[in-house]
Amino acid sequence: MNPTALFAITLASVCGVTLAAPSLSPARFLFGVRVGAPFRKTGPGREALRIYYTHDVTGIAIAIALVFALGLHREWTWMLAILLPEAAAVLGYYRANRRLRPFAAPADATGVREADLFAAEDRLPRWALWAVPPFLLPMAGAAYLHAHWNEIPARIATHYGIDGQPNGWTTRTPLHLYGLLIFAAGLLLWIFLLGIASYFGARRSPGRRSMLGVTISVMYLMGTVFTAAGLWAAPHFPLWIPVSILPPYLAGVLHWTYRRGADAKTPVESTPDECWSLGDIYNNPNDPALFVAKRMGLGYTINFGNPYAKWFAMGFLGGMGLLIAFMFWTVMGG
């Protein structure tokens, strides 16, 4: 695939997410501040949106200008151009959040909590078994590699420059060839464990089941992408699969998140405003929940006030670190 097209698809996906971000939270929140649904159309609401979009669009413009000025020959240019819109959006988000804080709605109604008094064991729904098939994808990939083992050359390119020319090589060994597929299986396990942890560590709500569903759909996405990537040494490397699957998946999830946020009936978790800092960081030592629903975007965020939060964060970040180290060790030349 043409590297420029690959870059354009990746950059367009990143820009799509950052541009859509302010519309992805429940309507009564704007940049993580509880302001009420109609607030977006008021002067201060528009001002906060203007601040955010100014930062985001500036980041996107600089990224595109950088690519035109320096080209895509150097990898760091490529990486910088992808990261710039995200960094600019994060900065815009925090500045808009700070601007809106004085307009936060009174906390009177946020202290009411309701709970069902049933002791039924908290179990995963039966449909959570749909998390199993994605694990078959890297296994199928390994079977494919095994079947075509003799067609794979003894010396294989492991790394390509942005110009499409190989600049890293390795030999045909099981560890090198199956490494990325093993990484894919590990990544799927990591995502699944994260989904289970957030399911049991969060309060019971309809949103909790939805998030588990999204997590499982991410497993399908990642299973497909990394299994396809794991076939890098195969005779017919299907690069088009990961490249073509990501944009429609992102568009689908963004659309669903937008509709969910815009629906006034979507329940919003009641958490004290004063425990949120920088918009999306929650720290409430009096709240025993390990995960709470984010105020912007989709999913849960960790409650850093929970005594297990730091151990959990260390364990999961450490797990991801080990997985990435394993991938570099096996694929990038052992």
């Binding site: 008094l117 049933f118 019971r204």
Partner: protein
Amino acid sequence: MPSAAKIRIDLNSPVPAYRQIVDAIRVLLVEDRLTPGTALPSVRRLAMELGVHFNTVGEAYRELAEEGWLDLHHGRSALVVDRGQRAPAPPERLLEFRDRLRNLVAQMRAEGVPSARIAAELRTITEGLKS
């Protein structure tokens, strides 16, 4: 298990959270919406759902157990038990209830609720509480 058995507390209320939990569960018990043999959620789960400290729920469960409503077994759920026929409250306890009731009625009157309405509310509530 009846699906309607819910409790609601207000963390911004001046009434302590544990007292609100005790009162809310006691209403459900007296109204027979929580019947003997029903298991309540674990302390951890209820604390998480209500967003309060574990000790707050633990304290509430202990108080209800002392009143004879719950059986607490270590490592198991709190179980609603049959209290049997209770002896009538002693006169001094009745006086205490009357004081609290008088204060509440006075508060309602001060906020403009007519006497007839207060009497009707009290009758409705009393008839709703079967035990």
